[in-house]
Amino acid sequence: MAFRARKKLILSLVILLVAILSSPVWGRGLWISLFQDRAVQNLLERNPENALEWLAYAQALDDQNPTTKILFARAYRKSRDVEQAYSVLMKYYELAGSTEEYLQEQWLLKAQIGDNADLQKHLSELLIKDQADMQDICETYVNSCILNYQFNDALKILELWEADFPEDPLPNFMRGKIYEHERALQDAIKEFQKTLDKDRTYAPAAYSLARIQLTLKKTEAAMKYYQTTLANTKFKSPAKVGLARCYRLLNQNQKAKQLLLEVLEKDVKELQKEYQVMGEPKFLANSAAHLEMGTLELTAKNYEAALKWLEPAAKANPRDLGIKNALAIVYSRLGRKQEAKELSQTIKETNNALAEIQDLLDQMRKEPPNPELRFQIGKAYLKYISEEQGIVWLNSVLRSLPHHRGTHIELARYYEQNRARGESFERLAKIHREKANALTKKTENSPVKSDQK
């Protein structure tokens, strides 16, 4: 009897094992649904990295599933990988066509890179219709407003957002970012502090507070917030670089070096992700620790060693004037005066451009819809300060003046110079060059010259 019972048990277990092992075949849909649900949950919890992992499982079972694709697009967008998001969204379109989800995701993706015209147009209907996505929509819209200097619009949405989700720390965090951008540092500190009051483990807020304290030259306070950041995130590298800077400022160079070497050992892709999680641009992955190391060596008068760090940093972050300045000094001390002078000239030009941009921004506050001002600002941003913001400003010109020749020329030039960065650059280079050429031809043939540059 006992033998028979044991045999029955073993048989049941075998059947169960076979059933489980074969479940990807007979229960594929259930598993996919399960993984997608996990991904959705992670997206709601603002954990796009985990969402991507769950979606990878879902994709392994069915790589033609449109839902998996749209979730992938969303997860990539939320992890700020715009190019991947775009690519996956295109695949979704091939599978499912222009669905409501596709359109919404497209608006959000465009807004993510600063073109928030569509999102702005559909914002109220989206927020009413889709309460579940409200935080995502608000977050993306606010980010796009920040890119477009539409701070008042951003602040209004943040107010609504906070009213609906009073426990959500993100509205405070984003308000802090706006204030920091506007150099209202005390207000920014208050908002970041409120963020931490709501969620004391919200590492990007502690990291931002540390950065502001460093701006305010309060090294010890900055150190405290970097420590808080380190204790609450697995993405530790940005805070380690910040802490290394603090040590350098306190003449504890060996400790600074120790931390920097830990960061520099890491894979660049991983570092990029870490910086993005902290709300920083990903190019800092290739330049922040390098700059600190370079500065350490420069201060110690080890000019060859400083060069080794500063040259790659300047290449990775070509618009950072601090790196350029340190590099110019190193060139000068190594007797490479011509290179030093050329860099100095760029620094001077950029500082002049910054002063001009400030004037233009002041003017724009008085006359916001002026596309010619936006064009000048976009051109200067693109050349001297930030590619991302430059593109946003220039695209905003085309929204009101789609045939602005100067803008198409600038954009064509930019995308042509960056063709190697991907298909989308190639495609946009072609679009803008064709438009620029057509407009040039039209202007030449016109009896009255257009006043558009």
Binding site: Q41, L71, K217
Partner: protein
């Protein structure tokens, strides 16, 4: 279609629970590696931070002398205040610069006298000068107004700065007064009076002169003049501005273009010629401060110019009066983020005892004051962050400044006169406390003062000059305030040790010996000083060189590198008094 949803099915809840628990279970085996390792790192970081904080506290609690200053201006019963014309409500940027002060012994009675510029006012959209004041020191910190007696009660221009230099080498110190629309050159006649000679001397014309510095730039033994100019403001270029939204205020310098500085070479016959172009001055700049000193130790005078919101200039001299501007490539034009600061006051010192003159610059609020370390050949590095300078915060708007050994501990400390330019500023107050930064082995710490001390009270500081009025070795300070009476700060510190003061008289070199480098040799090492042209802000300190020396340190003589190229060794120096040293009449080649 999947919708992001807050509502969860029981299955989802179960999965959610599994999802949250599973990593925990799987992580158990790894926790020693992952969590343990992370905790170790965090502990290590905590330890490092604590160590560094303890070290800082220890450094800051070092016992040291806190110099004390008493303002003796109220005792003088003088009715003088710098006027900036604020009452007219014009909100002109001209109002913001304020005035300067100069220390000189105009009557050569051995007591240092004082001069304060008077400023001006606005009437019917024109500027008008206000009288300056000359104060004769009669001893023991008593000063008498001798402006009229010295024939100096002239107020042709709205005045800002002043600078002392014996441009005719007659042994009587002369004075230039700078300002909006023209300069005044006061030639000291040697009988207690002055004569205004700017037109005859060729120094009258300028747009808006701020600081001036005397120095022999072309090496001919005669003092030349570097004049910084500010912006192109005029009543025809007078926009309405708000520094705080909704509050009309003076405009920032961004609203104006800079006006190029001027350089005048001395012909030796009482006249000057404009050498601005031939010397290679660059046309841009919004100059507020200037110092002439030998920054690359090649025995000629280089120039460092503080500009407001644009890059500072570093001019290196080829020895014949030809300048090359190398501010950016030599690391002295901007801060560590390559941002030009709003720079006002300037001085040099050797803060790290490496024998090289470092640059100290007082800047605008939200910027750190700048310390540029000289790494040799006038190659500078911005080290404000690394030397504790930034720990004073970003509230101060610094103007007149000076580096000197106030506490006789063998290194140079720093004083700064502060005060805001904006009438309605939200970041920091209009009136601000002066700063005293003590040098602690190459790191600077701000000393705190009580409310009863001048340094513990808020003022509207602008010009600042140093002098030892009572020759007690404690350096006193003259301050020109923006809209309050000036300050004459008697240093009453209980300093221990000894001091050396040296006054050089040039024979082959210019008589004031501006540009001379002096190395005091002591048992504790060498201390290097220079006789500088200009410096501070709109002001002129006494040209005597001062060292403080700890009691246990033995003085072993002094090496002097005269601007003429003559090198002199003096083995015996009298401590606790002023030593007069004449330039030997030897051939520098021999």
């Amino acid at each position: 279609m999947i919708k992001l949803s807050n509502g969860m099915t029981d299955f989802n809840k179960w999965i959610s629970h599994w999802n949250s628990q599973a990593p925990l279970i799987f992580a158990l085996g790894l926790c020693f590696l992952v969590v343990g390792c992370t905790s170790d790192k965090a502990d290590e970081l905590d330890r490092l931070t604590t160590e560094s904080n303890e070290k800082l506290i220890q450094e800051h609690s070092e016992t040291s002398l806190r110099p004390e200053f008493v303002d003796v201006w109220p005792e003088q019963n003088l009715n003088f205040t710098y006027h900036n014309g604020q009452d007219a409500g014009e909100l002109a940027i001209l109002e913001t610069l304020g005035g300067g002060t100069a220390v000189l012994d105009y009557d050569r009675d051995g007591l240092l006298d004082l001069f304060y510029t008077g400023g001006g006012s606005f009437e019917n959209k024109t500027t008008k000068g206000a009288p300056s004041i000359l104060l004769r020191h009669t001893g023991d910190f008593h000063f008498l107004d001798k402006t009229s007696a010295a024939n100096m009660d002239l107020a042709d221009f709205y005045s800002n700065g002043c600078s002392v230099g014996d441009y005719d080498n007659d042994g009587f110190q002369d004075l230039i007064v700078t300002g909006y629309g023209g300069s005044i050159l006061w030639k000291n006649l040697g009988d207690g009076t002055f004569e205004e000679t700017s037109i005859a001397a060729g120094l009258r014309d300028c747009y808006w002169g701020s600081s001036a510095a005397w120095g022999d730039i072309n090496g001919d033994g005669l003092l030349d003049l570097y004049l910084t100019q500010y912006t192109d403001w005029s009543f025809q270029n007078h926009p309405e501005c708000q520094l705080t939204p909704g509050r009309p205020d003076v405009c920032s310098p961004h609203s104006f273009k800079g006006v190029g500085d001027l350089l005048f070479f001395n012909r030796g016959d009482g006249t000057f010629y404009d050498a601005t172009k031939t010397a290679g001055l660059v046309p841009e700049g919004k100059g507020l401060g200037v110092i002439l000193a030998d920054l690359d130790n090649d025995t000629d005078l280089d120039a460092y110019v503080c500009n407001d919101t644009v890059e500072n200039f570093l001019y290196l001299n080829d020895g014949k009066g030809k300048f090359e501007e190398v501010g950016l490539i030599n690391g002295a034009a901007v801060d560590d983020r390559a941002t030009p600061n709003g720079s006002m006051g300037v001085d040099i010192m050797d803060y790290n005892h490496d024998g090289l003159p470092d640059l100290w610059v007082a800047n605008y609020e939200k910027e750190a004051f700048a310390l540029y370390r000289n790494d040799g050949d006038a190659q500078f590095l911005y080290v404000s962050n690394d030397t504790g300078v930034t720990s004073i915060g970003a509230l101060f708007v610094g103007f007149g400044t000076a580096c000197a050994d106030f506490d006789w501990d063998g290194d140079e400390d720093i004083v700064v006169a502060n005060g805001h330019v904006a009438y309605f500023s939200t970041n920091s107050p209009f009136r601000q406390e002066p700063l005293y930064l003590e040098n602690r082995k190459g790191r600077f710490a701000q000393l705190e003062y009580s409310d009863s001390s001048y340094f513990g009270q808020s003022h509207t500081g602008r010009g600042l000059a140093l002098a030892d009025f009572n020759e007690d070795g404690n350096l006193d300070i003259a301050i020109s305030n923006f809209s309050d009476p000036p300050g004459i700060l008697k240093n009453t510190s209980d300093t221990k040790g000894k001091w050396i003061s040296v006054r050089l008289i040039g024979t082959r070199s210019n008589r004031d010996a501006i540009g001379a480098r002096l190395i005091l040799h002591t048992s504790a090492g060498d201390q290097v000083r220079q006789i500088k042209g200009g410096g501070s802000y709109l002001s002129s300190s006494d040209i005597r060189v001062h060292w403080g020396i700890r009691a246990d340190v033995i003085i072993r003589g002094i090496s002097i590198y005269w601007p003429s190229g003559v090198q002199q060794e003096v083995k015996t120096l009298q401590p606790n008094t002023s030593n007069l040293i004449l330039e030997p009449n030897t051939n520098p080649e021999s």
